[in-house]
Subunit: 683 residues, 2 copies
């Protein structure tokens, strides 16, 4: 009987959190499954995934160098944890299900390949041979394939579903670029035009294709047009038409196709989720059902229902549980009646009974959703001070204070104080008047919070949903602590810690943000943004996976080709430590830190490539310095204006263009589609 | 009775073309209204609007200079035409309606202001005083306010409706930019960082605000980040967060808000159109109705219906009209019954009669839509050659030929020929083999068209909807003519006309495009694009209006500040004819032609600003040279890297930022929203 409750609880919480795992229903497996879903184990798993991904910081090319044996040891530990987790999972679900699931196969393959790679790498390293840790690109796959990565898998499915349509538009788009390039070649190649660097303009077909592809992202506008436009104004028409067709129309069509697919797919996913949820709740009902009367419908008693809810959500109060029961059992019986799990229900003839049965079944099924609803207790609790010192709290003065704090004028006064504060922050803080004023503002903000706590019930003030109250209090208190530390440091030795000061500044500016919450229109927008926040985290993971893979590959291909020197006096700084970059605009623009020398700068570089501006420039600069430089794919000089005649390799271009297509055309569009849809639903 | 038909015809065609004009129903007004809607008068009106707008080409600052009296004379003629058209309109609709309509008031005000401006300008010019033709910015208002500008007015209403929500998001967005700027000021201003030009970095608040505003468009990425990033990698986080919030999230929210409003507004407009259409058809019914039986419902006889349709669409065939009648009169009577115009219909009791009455009414109302449907006659007409020379056309050889042409292999063969042709076009045409091959390809394409004409019925081949057949034939024949002219010119004097050759090249490349029609997936996308084409023209007008206004203002403010020289040897070319630009990157990048010196280069410059890339650079360069240069609003040196310490004026910045907000944030988003919606509906 005890195991029955375990099983029913699992079904309910699986339905509640939309888990979709076909576990074994044997008592032992059920207990293991309960353990498997324990929050501590999940956090442990994500911690080790994070550790595994973070190893890139310490591995060659490293941001912080650690000996190879240390990182390898940590990685082995991670692999061990993942293996244990997988074995645990294998014990929970039936064997045939386990081996049929591509997620599990994928994890096993990743673990094995990683192990093999580590052995090969260790052996080659020991023999002082060149070796590559190629299995590092596989690490993000674990993030996708762990059982908890449901949201992320859904996002990838979204992409996969959009792919056929996106690729047919993409082929058409490429065709358009190729046709325009051919036209540009015929119209412009024989005119003897020169770029600003004096190189020939639009004479090589592949070069034109690339230039026009870059123009789609607008990154080389208007430079790419200028030589032709300077020769004859009529050529501007060509570029205008090109931008209209390929930048505006085709990019909108990409968004339309991605958005369309996203919506279609989302509907289908939600339908499936609802179906699976009903199925699980019906199973939970089936486990707990009992026969009240001979031949009557199966029902779940109030007692069993109570036990179930207590196990599924141990944190909710008795009153809340009682409320849920009243919602479920609206016919005031001591049980919820149901009609079994299958669609072949046995209905009872009297009309009222039918209603009870149907209500009962629906009531039980909806429990999963009811458990997810946050019940906000809006009881007007008396202020604790009222019971502690009633004579004072109810005095005339105290009441007046309450009325003042609740008055609109109070809010407006503090809005004005924030505005004045904003001006003071903008002024030079080295003026002693200004820097001392900070104490006044801090005192005012603390006073405001104390007054509010005096007037409003503290538990209501700090309820789960009072985002801005929490935000205000945390920011003000942190600012107070940081300011005190800063002053203490300053007065003790005249020494000001830059880090502490930075934190003080950030907190000061953050304090101003809450002014947006005052205006109703803004509040609606901000609340929408806060609500879609968690889902944006899924996109964060998606981006992390793609960035990580590209960063790993990029680091292998381009590491230490471009160097950054902190030391200003170092003569090598002028050409990023690579003579090939001597006199290049890349070096002149101080782009040396845009390199693949460690995982952090790789990520930042990939972000710059996502933003697209200047990406062709960075691309060219880095792909020149390609280790495989042997293939003269494009003549780089016209675009660069630098004198070095290095050559580039196809694969380097493929790397960057692939990244552009993946991230800018697909992922960013999915992100925009997602924000659009979320806004339509929420706003 | 004759006038009744006029009136009914007008109601029907108003309903058909969604015109919404409450004209006078007196016989004289009706006749005038018929004339008013004549296509020739409409074309004449649009021609004069175009002439009026084109005057900017000839007025100072002119692309092609004409004496002031000449342009003024033409403008007076235009004003006369517009006045006559307006008077005509005033005669057509009731007086009180005319004066209540803001469109008419707007036109009158524009005409009067233009006249006043012309007089002032003429007088000042005669007295050799400085004068501005300020009324030129009003010209595009005529395009919006003429009765035919319905689509354009709808687009502007779209914008107006989206404005309140867009502006509240915009205020929030600006607040976010201001907060981030304040944070940047506090974090970065005291670090003594330098830009690549050695100027101080992020020390002036307004400068930071502007730089970060530009970063939203990504135009100065990654340059704006580099000094901070080079100082410490941690600052990259600030810029990443900034781009995430302001570029990705806020720009998506703008699109979401615009799209949401667009959809809402579109639905409402369509509902109103349908209502107005029904109302007009009910009126037409009311005009032609007659009483068949005493006390029976009013009906329209077949005879009258026929006359009405003949007048409303004189071009459709008798068979087509008969088809429409059968669709309308499905109860096989010789009349269409109805129940009057109001909602208080008198229903007849017998059930069948009620059906007749209702069907009749609906049938009549739907006539307006039926007239808009193109009936494609899919009759398999015999080939004309079959009746001319039946013995030959039905011979064995001829039939084999027909089968060959209809075979899939024929299509594939010509696709391959196109591909080979594409390669040949890409190769150097100075090779005699290549240039002669052109004749072979031309012959093959002509052969293909002739063969198709031999096999398929010519009228079906060149039907209205065979877009690609028309396209093919026109392109091939034009290419043939152009190639012959080119060869003739070449052989006659060895002289090759560049223009003719350009046309030949364009036509050659265009010939390749039809390959996309072969692939089914592409055809769907292309057809969608072709179908939304006409609506894109409305956007073209919208853009024209906004560009024209900005071009006129820009020309007054910035004309001849930056000069372009065709002559390479001119020493002034190096600094665009303005010593202030000596050594600037603007001049180094050959941007001199990006100026406001005439209406064509103004439009191209505005397009470059729409594309956004480098816009801050162009903006700065041009706003330096502002005539009102007296206000040190921003310290320009850090961004420019040029040594000149000129100052700029607020108003110039306002001009460019206003343009950016108007065009990039509002109009481009409406365009994207429109393409999205059209794609969802059509695809
Ligand atoms: Na850009």
């Amino acid at each position: 009987h005890f195991q029955d409750f375990d099983l029913a609880t699992i079904y309910v919480s699986d339905a509640q959190y939309n888990r979709n795992i076909f576990f074994d229903t044997s008592p032992q497996a059920v207990r293991l499954y309960l353990l498997y879903n324990h929050w501590a184990l999940k956090i442990l798993l994500y911690f080790f995934i994070l550790v595994n991904l973070s190893l890139a910081i310490f591995e060659e090319p490293a941001l912080v160098s650690l000996p190879t044996w240390a990182t390898m040891l940590v990685e082995l530990l991670c692999l061990l944890v993942f293996t244990i987790r997988l074995v645990h999972y294998a014990k929970v679900i039936p064997r045939e299900k386990f081996w049929k699931d591509p997620k599990n196969i994928c994890i096993i393959v990743v673990l094995l390949l990683t192990l093999i790679d580590m052995i090969i790498y260790g052996a080659l390293k020991a023999a002082n041979l060149y070796s590559v840790r190629w299995s590092r690109v596989l690490r993000p796959l674990l993030l996708i394939n762990v059982t908890e990565g449901r949201q992320l898998r859904r996002a990838f499915r979204s992409i996969r579903n959009a792919l056929p349509e996106v690729s047919s538009v993409f082929v058409l788009f490429i065709f358009s670029v190729l046709m325009f390039s051919l036209m540009a070649l015929k119209l412009l190649s024989k005119r003897g035009l020169k770029t600003i660097e004096g190189a020939s303009y639009f004479t090589n077909y592949l070069e034109i294709v690339f230039e026009l592809y870059v123009l789609v992202t607008t990154a080389n506008s208007p430079d790419v047009m200028m030589p032709a436009y300077n020769a004859n104004s009529i050529f501007a028409l060509f570029f205008i038409l090109y931008i209209l067709v390929n930048t505006y129309i085709f990019m909108s069509v990409f968004l339309a196709v991605v958005f369309n697919n996203y919506k279609k797919h989302l509907k289908e996913e939600i339908r499936q989720l609802v179906r699976a949820k009903r199925h699980k709740m019906a199973r939970a009902f089936g486990v707990l059902q009992e026969q009240r009367e001979e031949g009557g419908p199966p029902v779940v008693s109030h007692e069993n229902w109570n036990k179930l809810v207590q196990r599924a959500r141990p944190d909710i109060s008795n009153a809340h549980r009682e409320l849920l029961w009243r919602v479920c059992d609206d016919s005031n019986q001591s049980f919820i009646g149901g009609s079994g799990t299958g669609p072949n229900c046995t209905f009872i003839n009297t009309e009222t009974s039918v209603v009870v049965v149907e209500t009962g079944k629906v009531s039980f099924v909806q429990l999963a959703d009811l458990l997810n609803i946050e019940v906000i207790t809006l009881k007007s609790r008396p202020h604790p001070l009222q019971s502690l010192i009633p004579s004072f709290y109810e005095s005339r003065l105290s009441r007046l204070l309450c009325r003042v704090v609740q008055h609109r004028g109070f809010v407006i006064t503090f809005d004005l104080i924030i505005l004045v504060n904003a001006v003071f922050i903008g002024l030079d803080e080295e003026n002693p008047l200004i820097s001392n004023s900070e104490w006044v503002f801090l005192a005012l903000y603390i006073l405001e919070i104390l007054l509010k706590l005096y007037v409003f019930e503290p538990r209501a003030f700090f309820s789960k949903h009072s985002f801005w109250n929490w935000f205000d209090t945390i920011v003000v208190i942190s600012a107070l602590i940081a300011t005190i530390i800063n002053s203490a440091l300053k007065s003790s030795g005249g020494y000001t810690s830059r880090q502490v000061l930075d934190i003080v500044f950030i907190l000061r500016v953050l304090r101003l943000i809450r002014v947006v919450d005052r205006i109703k229109r803004f509040r609606a927008i901000i609340n929408t943004l806060i609500r879609i926040g968690p889902a944006i985290l899924t996109f964060g993971q998606l981006i992390l996976v793609v960035y990580y893979i590209f960063a790993m590959v990029g680091m292998e291909l381009f590491k230490n080709k471009v160097k950054f020197y902190e030391d200003v006096s170092n003569p090598e700084k002028a050409y990023c430590g690579n003579l090939l970059l001597k006199g290049s605009t890349f070096a002149q623009l101080n782009y040396c830190k845009n390199n693949f020398n460690n995982v952090v700068s790789s990520f930042i570089l990939l972000l710059e490539l996502t933003v697209v501006n200047q990406w062709h420039d960075i691309l060219y600069k880095i792909s020149y310095l390609n280790p495989f430089s042997s293939f003269n794919f494009l003549n780089p000089i016209p675009l660069l204006g630098t004198g070095f005649a290095t050559v580039t390799h196809k694969s380097a271009l493929i790397f960057f263009v692939l990244f552009h297509v993946m991230v800018v055309i697909i992922i960013i569009n999915i992100f925009v589609a997602f924000v659009l849809e979320a806004f339509f639903v929420e706003y």
